[in-house]
Amino acid sequence: MSDPILSIRGLKKSFGALTATDDVSLDLFPGEIHALIGPNGAGKSTLIKQIVGEIRPNAGTISFEGQVIDRLDAAARARLGLARSFQVSSVIPDFTVLQNVMLAVAGADGHVFRFHLPALMDKTLTEPALFHISHAGLAGREGTPASVLSHGERRKLEIAMALALRPRAFLLDEPMAGMGLEGAKQLTTILSDLRAEAPILLVEHDMDAVFALADRISVLVYGRIIATGTVAEIRANPQVRQSYLGEEA
């Protein structure tokens, strides 16, 4: 097995008496979709925030492509290629689809302090942006303001922006949330193809999507990983069935 792209060791986070993350370790290997599942309140969002750099853990370490990134802030981690999407779509509402993705291209580029050239005439921004927009399935919607996009289109926009970061890993936070049946199927295909770009750490509630997409699954309960394995292994795991799947199966 090659080295993991993303490696989390012994992560701990408490808020006063509440332990939100309890000694979490997990790896994301190249080429895989690693799903993270768990009941509500398990601490998934706290874990995500620590990975992307919004919260500082109390203990533990995170490595990205072999480099320890604990001291880096969220923007720096994004520039390294850690691309995230949000549970509730987070886009720039008054910008068009094109401007949104151009922003991501500019951010990934690292050169934001350019004052003289109108952004829309800057080919180093527009060309990559247009490419990622069509790659994410939004061709034809470039000039649409993000605020009027449909829910599914907004999800695709987030994927386009993630692609613009020249990602080395994706961290997707419940991308299926709020998607209807047809949209979910489309998105599942897109995500499966995304795996070729970079490995995905997929936090999800939608078990259909998880079983269809995941190469491996980790189960998070009360802030701690109780099991990691293939889909078959996790489905058969009695502890998992009891504390999580058991409630659904």
Binding site: A75, A78, A83, R84, L103, G107, P118, L165
Partner: protein, 331 residues
């Protein structure tokens, strides 16, 4: 289609201001030329604030600090030029000056330094804190200006001759208007270029959704600080022009009331619209000129008008105009 309509409205506003001044000059109405000059200067102050506020989302209630700095730099240089004393002899001898082209860079530099300090501290906060902190720092400078007697303290500082500009007689109202309008035009051009650039994209993104900006690798604070400093420099230039207009500076240029007024210009015209502050300043001066003689308490009416705009017409006057034009489209 809407884009070019915005551009037309902006050009019309600027052109109107120039037309009023030129028309007044031809008609021999010197006072109106001075009013137009005042509108250009206060509009320039608003253009500066608009960059930070309208485009950057930074609610700075202390921009009078920079307006005053620009004014006082001008006043200090001019008065030292008049009496021949050096301004300071450490670390090097700095003499006064009465050349506008020499004073303006100094004014903008002083404001940039102040904005760097104030901005770096204030941007450690957000939301309400930011508003309060910027207001507080401006107030600090206000009190300092009052208690520093060397430049007049509370009474302010007069200088008798307007500073010089090569090739022009700055004391002739229409010529001074030309200088002010010219600088206003440059500032508008600058704002247009900057806000359409890559930096402008990042700035407006951080205003609308900081979390998303961070997620694509853009740190908000350096972007905001840059916008804050640039905006301070423009407002300081306006302060310098204002000082030369009145040949007088006083601590009131630093007051919270002045900060509020500059904000009113921006809001009246429409936040985040290029020429909004110019329209807003023009309306303000018109009101002052028309209502002032009617009642000493005209600012109460201004207050009611402002209240109405905030509550019922948040796009400002330009927003109203554009809406009316759009409705005319559908008729």
């Amino acid at each position: 289609m809407t884009m070019s309509r915005d551009l037309i409205v902006n050009l019309v506003i600027f052109a109107l201001l120039v037309a009023v001044a030129v028309g007044a000059e031809i008609a021999g109405q010197g006072f109106t030329v001075t009013l137009a000059t005042k509108a250009a200067i206060l509009g320039l102050a608003g253009v500066g604030l608009n960059l930070a506020l309208g485009y950057g989302g930074l609610v700075s209630f202390g921009h009078a600090a920079f307006f005053g700095i620009g004014g006082y730099v001008t006043g200090i240089f001019a008065s030292h030029a008049a009496n021949g004393d050096p301004i300071t002899t450490l670390p090097f001898t700095l003499m006064g000056s009465n050349e506008m082209l020499g004073i303006w860079p100094m004014a903008m530099l002083a404001a940039a330094v102040a904005a760097l300090l104030i901005g770096a501290l204030s941007l450690r906060t957000t939301g309400v804190y930011f508003i309060m902190v910027t207001l507080a720092f401006a107030q600090m400078i206000y009190y300092f200006a009052i208690s520093w007697p060397r430049y007049g303290g509370e009474d302010g500082l007069s200088f008798y001759v307007r500073n010089k500009f090569p090739g022009l007689n700055t004391l002739v109202p229409i010529q001074y208007f030309a200088i002010c309008a010219g600088l206003l035009g440059l500032a508008l051009l600058f704002t247009a270029v900057v806000t359409q650039s890559r930096f402008g994209l990042a700035l407006q993104a951080t205003r609308q959704n900081e979390q998303r900006s961070t997620a694509v690798g853009i740190r908000a604070t350096p972007v905001r600080l840059t916008a804050f400093v640039l905006s301070a420099m423009i407002t300081a230039l306006a302060g310098a022009l204002y000082a030369d207009l009145n040949r007088f500076v006083s601590p009131s240029m630093f007051s919270w009331h002045m900060s509020g007024e500059i904000m009113v210009f921006v809001i009246l015209g429409g936040v985040g619209r290029l020429c909004g502050p110019v329209a807003g300043a023009a309306v303000f001066i018109l009101l002052e000129h028309l209502l002032g003689p009617v009642s000493d308490h005209w600012q109460a009416l201004l207050g009611l008008m402002l209240l109405a705009i905030v509550l019922f017409a948040p796009g400002g006057l330009i927003g109203l105009v554009l809406k009316a034009l759009r409705r005319a489209d559908h008729v």
